[in-house]
């Protein structure tokens, strides 16, 4: 399918694929097994300027948008979803800063993130605040010269590995979600520690940890944007970042499709490659249709985000929901096509199936997002009545 990518976008996608195939592919099984954070690959991605893609040119980035980010994430996830997640979360971690930060804050952090010298992360989820994201309990009490944070963040991607955290905390707990603010916390700030590293079903090489704040003081200048607007900022951020999760899902689905086709071509049963069996062809064709439809929707949503359009919640949610459901279906079918071999951990498709699942869960479960889409439908209907 032709998506009319610009020369620059093709270059970005092409180089991301090269890094993935030459540097990630040889170690992906080992990384999955050891659950080790892929620092060497983060260095390769930095050397290839991949962290510059989503940072504005004024801060030593390449000034790309959501689509450019999606192209990189897709190519990385095609080979390893854990690496793709560890990479993509940097964009999430500095997006609030790019959008609402002061010139001084941007100068301080963005060039390092663009160069891949320091990783970033974003922290909103808490034990009591998953889908009900507004129910956060972490507080940031205003004191002389800054804020004192107390509370625990849960399931934070890049937790412990990243050096720059955008943390959602209540600067006014009497106002609930309207009292939430985005605050930058650097690793090694006194009072800021990490919980145990979670053992996950998939994307195992990525790091997921608790962030623990115990009387953690951060200076006033670490507040991003206005106090009390944190929750709104976060919701806007997710509207823009969801196509990226769609791209991760799309990539893993693409990788599974290719692995299934390769296997079906090589596997001889009844004296012929199983790809010549109509029942196998049927599954493969359906997988290919699903993957291409996911790509079309993800790219379209990313372009919508980049156009600066105001109402993007619906389209962005659709791309994430659809692509992640496709990823789960396609990776499951890939394991089915590869049969017993596919079920073995020596073969990549079972990892892809495990990796796919998280895309239906994080950055808004598919149920919550369907709910958001339905709300938009009802609002529109109400306006026309």
């Amino acid at each position: 399918m032709e998506y009319f990518l610009s020369e620059e976008q093709k270059t970005i996608k092409g180089l991301a694929r090269r890094v993935a195939e030459e540097r990630i592919l040889p170690v992906r099984a080992e990384l999955d097994e050891s659950e080790e954070f892929p620092w060497a690959i983060m260095k390769d991605l930095a050397d290839a300027d991949m962290f510059r893609v989503f940072v504005p040119e004024e801060y030593e980035g390449l000034g790309g948008g959501c689509l450019e980010l999606c192209l990189v994430v897709e190519e990385l996830a095609r080979v390893c979803s854990a690496v793709a997640a560890s990479y993509a979360v940097n964009a999430l971690g500095c997006f609030t800063l790019m959008e609402y930060g002061t010139e001084e804050q941007k100068r301080k952090y963005l060039p390092d993130i663009a160069a891949g010298k320091r990783l970033a992360a974003f922290a909103i989820t808490e034990p009591t605040a998953g889908s009900d994201a507004s129910n956060i309990k972490t507080t940031a009490e205003k004191v002389e010269g800054g804020y004192v944070l107390n509370g625990t963040k849960q399931f934070i991607t890049n937790g412990g590995e990243a050096e720059i955290y955008t943390v959602m905390a209540l600067t006014d707990k009497t106002r609930g979600a309207r009292g939430a603010s985005a605050i930058l916390v650097e690793k090694d700030t006194p009072g800021f520690t990490f919980g145990k590293k979670e053992k996950k079903m998939g994307i195992r090489a990525s790091a997921t940890r608790e962030l623990i704040f115990r009387n953690c003081f951060v200076p006033e200048e670490n507040l991003i944007g206005k106090p009390g607007l944190g929750f709104i900022q976060a919701m806007r951020l997710f509207d823009k970042s969801r196509p990226g999760i769609g791209a991760q899902a799309l990539g893993v689905a693409q990788g599974a499709l290719e692995a299934a086709v390769d296997y079906a071509q090589q596997r001889i049963q009844f004296g012929q490659p199983i790809i010549s069996l109509p029942v196998v062809q049927d599954i493969l064709a359906e997988m290919a249709i699903q993957v291409e439809a996911a790509r079309a929707l993800v790219y379209a949503a990313a372009r919508m985000v980049d156009s600066g359009a105001k109402k993007i919640t619906e389209g962005s949610a659709m791309s994430k929901v659809f692509a992640s459901d496709v990823a789960m279906k396609v990776t499951t079918d890939a394991v089915q096509i590869c049969g017993g071999t596919g079920y073995m951990r020596d073969f990549p498709v079972e990892k892809m199936m495990r990796d796919a699942k998280i895309t239906q869960i994080y950055e808004g479960t598919n149920q919550i997002l369907r709910n958001a889409i339905a709300i938009e439908l009802r609002k529109r209907k109400a306006r026309t009545e």
């Binding site: 180089l15 390769d44 050397d47």
Partner: protein
């Protein structure tokens, strides 16, 4: 630290055709790559620049399409690139190639180290590096696996020999050829690729170099490939079937028949 890296564009496949007239490779219309050994030379050059400052100039002799290899070199960190291309250069052997490269290096003047790959994938001679050093009258070290130290106009390198390493100290400027053990070449960067697209790559021919036309290309070559052929397969093999004991018996009787046991 001014580094010159000599590199060659070679076929990216072993499926090549030979021109029956000249017995040289037909290079038109096939996928090409930078000679793999030269990528290590380029990487080492870029690392020297990152360590000591200065610049890296990539140099290649070849047809006009070899410009693509030089653009790739820029995307991988070369600051400048020069293509040596002229109809008169066609059909050059290693000596004529080294003569042409030496002409360009003399024109570039300022250099501390010249780095080449140990050999090319297509010609496989490994001669251009040493010939170049002869023509430039500078020291030469082959098969370098590590540059240990550079200070006060001296360089200490490890060179791979069959059973171990030699430690060699040489004054600069010098020519070295490198082996793949020396580094892991980086992938291009996005900024590098963007820079390479707009890089100006001058093309120098006989005139620009001011060298003797009679000493370049086919006419300046001392060697000429007169025939290219596959060696005839003279050995015959036989695979014994059946149980292990039967196989051993078969082998023994065959050896006995041949009078070998």
């Amino acid at each position: 630290m001014n580094v010159i890296v000599c590199l060659k564009q070679v076929p990216g496949t072993t499926n090549v055709k030979i021109d029956p007239q000249t017995n040289t490779l037909i290079r038109q219309g096939i996928e090409t790559i930078i000679n793999p050994f030269d990528t290590y030379a380029l990487e080492e050059g870029v690392r020297l620049k990152e360590r000591f400052g200065g610049k890296v100039t990539a140099l290649s002799m070849g047809p006009p399409q070899a410009e693509a290899a030089l653009r790739e070199a820029v995307s991988l960190g070369a600051d400048e690139a020069v293509l040596l291309s002229d109809k008169a250069f066609a059909g050059a052997d290693t000596w004529a190639t080294a003569y042409t490269l030496a002409g360009a290096i003399n024109k570039l003047e300022q250099y501390d180290i010249i780095i080449c790959g140990r050999q090319t994938l297509d010609g496989d001679t490994g001669q251009v590096g040493p010939e170049l050093s002869e023509m430039l009258e500078v020291p030469f070290v082959a098969y370098v696996s590590q540059i240990e130290e550079i200070a006060d106009g001296q360089m200490r390198v490890q060179r791979m020999v069959e059973e171990g390493h030699e430690l060699i100290e040489t004054p600069l400027p010098a020519v070295i050829t490198v082996v793949k053990e020396i580094n892991v070449p980086r992938l291009p960067s996005l900024r590098g690729i963007m820079k390479s697209k707009s890089a100006v790559i001058p093309v120098w021919g006989v005139q620009e170099l001011g060298i003797d036309q009679g000493r370049v290309g086919l006419s300046g070559s001392f060697t000429k490939v007169i025939k290219v052929f596959f060696p005839q397969r003279v050995c015959q093999s036989e695979i014994f079937q059946g149980e292990l004991e039967t196989q051993v018996e078969c082998l023994f009787s065959r050896l006995k028949d041949a009078g070998l046991v």
